[in-house]
Subunit: 348 residues, 2 copies
Amino acid sequence: MQTLLQHQIDQKTKPLGALGRLEDLALQIGLIQQTTQPQLRQPHLVVFAADHGAALHGVSAYPQEVTWQMVMNFLAGGAAINVFCRQHQINLKVADAGVNFDFDSHPQLINAKIAKGTQPFHLQTAMTENQAQQAMDKGAAIVRQIAQTGCNIIGFGEMGIGNTSAASLLMAFFTDLPLNVCIGTGTGVDEKGLQRKHQVLNQAYELHKHLKVSTKGEQTNGQAKEQNPLAILAAVGGFEIAMLTGAMLQAAKLHMVVLVDGFIASASFLVATIFQPTIRQYAIACHVSAEQGHQKLLEYLGLKPLLQLDMRLGEGTGVAVAYPLLESAVRFLNEMASFESAGVSVSK
Amino acid sequence: MQTLLQHQIDQKTKPLGALGRLEDLALQIGLIQQTTQPQLRQPHLVVFAADHGAALHGVSAYPQEVTWQMVMNFLAGGAAINVFCRQHQINLKVADAGVNFDFDSHPQLINAKIAKGTQPFHLQTAMTENQAQQAMDKGAAIVRQIAQTGCNIIGFGEMGIGNTSAASLLMAFFTDLPLNVCIGTGTGVDEKGLQRKHQVLNQAYELHKHLKVSTKGEQTNGQAKEQNPLAILAAVGGFEIAMLTGAMLQAAKLHMVVLVDGFIASASFLVATIFQPTIRQYAIACHVSAEQGHQKLLEYLGLKPLLQLDMRLGEGTGVAVAYPLLESAVRFLNEMASFESAGVSVSK
């Protein structure tokens, strides 16, 4: 299939490789769908929202209630992600993974609440392993439901005041990068707030570092220590992050194209690669954000982002604005003439 | 207006600056249209096509007839630019600025032929100054015609075997960058071809260098030498390039958003800035190509490209694939809720 696809790409009326990254995308999507005529069907974007105990301890520029207020804004159609999904006819769903608020039912809202926010991870584990597993399972179930619409391309976003902190910790636990490299200003914490964030995250790291296994293969008493990703996810993750991880794993299993958004979604994807390394071939990193650590995380994952627009909003906005590029990739493969069909001379 | 626009952007339900480059675009387009509710209307893309005498002297990987063959491909709807314009409902026109071929009439084809290709610029001037002026005037007339449809955003692409050579020479004449920095592999010339290209372009540069005036303000006999941009454009330019220059100048004059594509369109834009420096505020650089020199040229022009997708195809493809980002910018400004209207708490 790879040879067939590459041949088809090379026969189009353009110099070899002249469509750059769009050619890589066409090849990847063709391989995921195992066809030389890939199609993007019923694109969906799910924003997973949840609260974080740590948000009550000064790690964010915004108060915790912004999480539920923004969920209401998503449901009213007024947030950035609404605008971009409407623009590209992407079906938007909002999953309440664990927001500290009781929502009325709404056609776009999926009730998947595990609890009303996690516990502060610098004082105890954020959730139980059982809750982390529940969240992953619910994420998978949501994707299975969406797949029934015929959807074969799905993007993932998030909303949760304090969740860059959880993402930073997960990055520090699942890579060998030092914690301070993994911490950034999030939605725009000031100098003093950033100090406080560093302090809380260092405390969390110290509290849970016994769970960390060096990727270089640390040995204890002559025996290789086994990594327990679920325990780490439970200790320092978030409900929306665990749900994202489960959702991404399920989407890849169903051979969907998996669209990864900003720092938090990328951290969730990092956790997914620990559970299932082959998920990488299904993933497209849509945007590298201005958040420190995101670029390093994508490099670590071996993902090259499509866009670099200095956005740092989350919600899946990077996925939504990048979506037309995926369509362009599929369309040139299906619609462009070949040198032969167009009667154009090939290069000398 | 700038203050009004910035205030409106900052009141949207997102952290300050969190939409990154999209915020810059919204501000720029708002300023061009002098409104806090900008709209993109009747988007057009014009591909200017012409032949180059130098193409018969081994500067390109493709034979000259590919220019007219690709024009036929544009008119038949089979090229990359057709696919991307269809995707984004951009009205595509093809202007024959000087192709070495007689085309039948076609609703998408604008006959603006100056001559059947330029003369080889390493042996003589590529065209007369009169022809260069004619080409600029026809470019302007084409834009005036398009403006009558209500169009307020216009992109420019090009097709012309050999035209990266003309673009490299113009860059070397109108900046103080050395010629070899301005020369790249174009559509994919090989090592030997690249040597030949350097040789021909060095010869052209030597032949016409008396026209060059250092931007550092060279003095001759105590008097500042006056730059004659039309003479340089005539000596080393191309019909499509001169027409692009005239078209861009006219579009800015009509307060349209001017979308700049790849290396050749950027070189045309460089020439336009010599005629009218204020044109910069109307321009958006859509994509920086893989062509050596393009990034340096955009830096010189002070334009930050929106996309970097390793494309090197021309035709206006960079404009077309970037177009939805401009729409996203305008839409978030018009459609997103404010903190107040959505009842979302502001940052602490």
